[in-house]
């Protein structure tokens, strides 16, 4: 039998209860006396892996993750090696690409590792890659970063920094087979505009655990598009903070979870300064036995963050029996002086009755499934605003569906 459920979060105060399957909660608000987002982590943020106990799986931040499939990334037994990881950066003129050591001041400026695997990545990487777009530079071509694995284990650190009023699109492609733990920092200067598309198109065996830290400058806008198709375990943790008022963050995510895959997306938007906006939309489709998708959407509006406007949404479409979804939206509000705050989570099933209905109108079975999935993702894909990426995503979704349905 399929299990599709929304799970409750721990913590003393939070917005809304766990919505039942197929339902939607929106706009509920609670005022937190103390941040449960921060207190429910098992250790405070740190760059040093030794500051984190080895997780056993019952911790709030690890309770959905199959630790036994992390290939030792969480307990110190994973060692960099094998064929490593090939990282190629293709940057237009005017962009600098550097390999730097752990002492570089730009590293960790956007955020500190919050769990053991992120700290492990920080403690174990050899050289960090820093890509810099100078101030007021507006790129017309995207920066492309190709990350390709051939069976090795690797720890990475990537920094992408935009100077004031710089504008750039970055496309990060993950392919092949790898065991990878990484931190990715996005530093946006005042008025900068950054769009990052991170595609996880791994082979079936890959394990990828990463923390993304964005620090959004005054009046800057950050758009993150996370697309996860492949891998055995993919666990991404995009986090956003603001360096000044007027910042905007849009976090879009799309995942297609197949049989046996664990795909986990944990988000935190920390409204730590006034008058910033955030919008989170993640959508996933699941098919096959033991396909498991986890979405944790944390939004924290700190007491000083007056004028905040935030919304987060997660939608899941369960296409077959045997798949499981855990979707946990969590909104904490420490000030009432805000423009808006809301969240919604819903998990629906594509069931035999829907299939019968479409087929009873002459639509063949495979086309009926495609119709439903395409429609489900279309709205999100259109919001990305990059035509070539949109086309590629639609083509990729079709391809994944063909492979799975056939």
């Amino acid at each position: 039998m399929a299990e599709a459920q929304n799970s409750p979060t721990l913590g003393s105060a939070r917005a809304g209860g766990p919505p039942p399957v197929g339902s939607t909660t929106a706009g509920s608000i609670a005022v937190a006396a103390e941040s449960t987002v921060a207190t429910r982590m098992s250790a405070p943020p740190s760059f040093d892996v030794a500051d984190f106990p080895v997780p056993h799986g019952r911790e709030e931040e690890w309770r959905f993750t199959p630790l036994e499939r992390l290939r030792g990334l969480h307990d110190g037994t994973a060692v960099a090696g094998g064929n490593g990881l090939k990282v190629e950066v293709q940057a237009p003129e005017g962009v600098t690409v550097e390999a730097v050591g752990r002492d570089d001041a730009r590293l960790g400026k956007a955020g500190v590792p919050v769990d053991r695997v992120a700290a492990q990545a920080y403690s174990a990487f050899e050289k960090a890659s820093v890509v810099t777009v100078p101030k007021e530079t507006v790129l017309t071509e995207p920066i492309r970063i190709a990350v390709h694995g051939e069976g090795g284990t690797a720890f990475g650190h990537q920094v992408i920094e935009l100077g004031a009023f710089a504008e750039a699109i970055v496309v990060i492609d993950h392919t092949g087979d790898a065991v990878l733990a990484a931190n990715v920092d996005y530093l946006l200067g005042d008025g900068a505009k950054l769009t990052v598309v991170s595609v996880q198109d791994w082979d079936d065996k890959a394990v990828h655990v990463a923390q993304h830290n964005a620090l959004v400058g005054r009046d800057a806008s950050f758009k993150s598009v996370v697309v996860t198709f492949g891998g055995d375990v993919v666990r991404l943790h995009p986090r956003v903070r603001y360096a000044g008022p007027g910042g905007e963050a849009e976090l879009f995510g799309l995942y297609l979870t197949d049989a046996g895959q664990h795909q986990e997306h944990r988000l935190l938007v920390d409204h730590n300064v006034p008058h910033c906006k955030s919008n989170v939309v993640y959508k996933g489709a699941l098919q096959g036995d033991d396909a498991h998708a986890v979405w944790i959407g944390d939004v924290l509006i700190e007491a000083k963050a007056e004028g905040t406007d935030t919304y987060e949404m997660n939608r899941n479409l369960v296409l077959t029996d045997g798949a499981r979804v855990d979707s946990v939206p969590n909104l904490e509000i420490e000030t009432g002086e805000i423009v808006g705050a809301g969240h919604a989570s819903a998990t629906g099933r594509f069931d035999d009755e829907q299939l019968f209905y479409l087929m009873a109108r002459g639509i063949p079975e495979q086309e009926a499934r495609r119709l439903v999935v395409r429609g489900f993702f279309a709205e999100l894909v259109q919001q990305i605003g990059l035509p070539d990426i949109e086309e590629r995503l639609i083509a990729k979704i079709e391809e994944e569906l063909e492979a799975a349905v056939a």
Partner: protein, 261 residues
């Protein structure tokens, strides 16, 4: 001329550890241009007949034949039946998340007609059909049946009937749950399709009320999984006056609802 022939149809359904026979030998012939009303009490198997014709996987055919113009319908998959010209307007139309009405209608019309309708004429065709059924244009962008009221769902079914132009349309309790205004709009839609003379209609209903709007050529009383009496439109009047009690002896079915409304 298209003809749907049902011969000695037996259908079972799996119910809690037991196989239950619902249809016990149904015989019926529906020709293009004809309208047949099948009337019967709750639980008599009317809906099972409708879903069995459409090929719902819940029902198992254990005997008999169904042919459309001589072609074996029972051998066809659900979508093949629809493409062969069978249409089922459902009593409980299903919500399909993520699929807009306009996308659904076009995909369906493309499948049924064998080629994508030309966009310009198609848009006009849909718009006009929606207008005739008092369906707000904004429906085109809503997800199929999602958040539709009962009346909206039924009008949406009849919209499909008008656009897909089947050879034989089975209307499964299309009248149930409709107020008089909605019933009139829906009936007018069905009558428009009937007036083309190109569709055979099998109208399944519990109540005689809809027969004031849609005049059947033949009325059949359904009880205990088979047709127990057939006649002309006058049989509906008899049911209106006397209810289903006279037929209760065939089966221990619920006759309390009565036929009139």
């Amino acid at each position: 001329m298209a003809t749907l022939e049902i011969r000695d149809l037996h259908v079972t359904v799996e119910a809690e550890n037991a196989t239950k026979e619902i249809l016990k030998g149904v015989d019926l012939t529906v020709k293009q241009g004809e309208t047949h009303a099948i009337m019967g009490p709750n639980g008599s198997g009317k809906s099972t007949l409708a879903y069995s014709l459409a090929g719902h996987p819940k029902y198992t055919i254990t005997g008999g034949t169904v042919t459309l113009d001589g072609e074996d319908v029972l051998e066809m998959s659900v979508d093949e039946r629809a493409r062969a010209g069978l249409f089922l307007a459902m009593q409980y139309p299903v919500e399909v998340p993520g699929v807009s009405v306009s996308n659904f209608l076009r995909t369906s019309a493309t499948a049924i007609r064998g080629e994508a309708p030309k966009l310009r004429t198609w848009v006009k065709e849909v718009k006009e059909a929606m207008q005739r059924l008092n369906i707000d244009p904004s429906f085109a962008e809503r997800n199929v049946n999602e958040g539709f009221s009962g009346g909206e769902k039924k009008r949406h079914e009849i919209l499909q009937l008008e656009l897909l132009k089947p050879k034989v349309a089975v209307l499964d309790e299309t009248d149930s749950g409709l107020d008089v205004d909605a019933l009139r709009v829906v009936s007018e839609g069905v009558n428009r399709v009937r007036e083309t003379g190109e569709v055979g209609t099998l109208l399944i209903t519990h109540y005689t009320r809809i027969l004031r709007y849609i005049k059947p050529d033949h009325v059949h009383v359904f009880s205990g999984g088979r047709i127990v009496e057939s006649g002309g439109a006058e049989l509906a009047d008899k049911l209106e006056n006397e209810g289903y009690e006279a037929y209760a002896k065939h089966d221990g079915v619920d006759t309390k609802g009565g036929a009139s409304a």
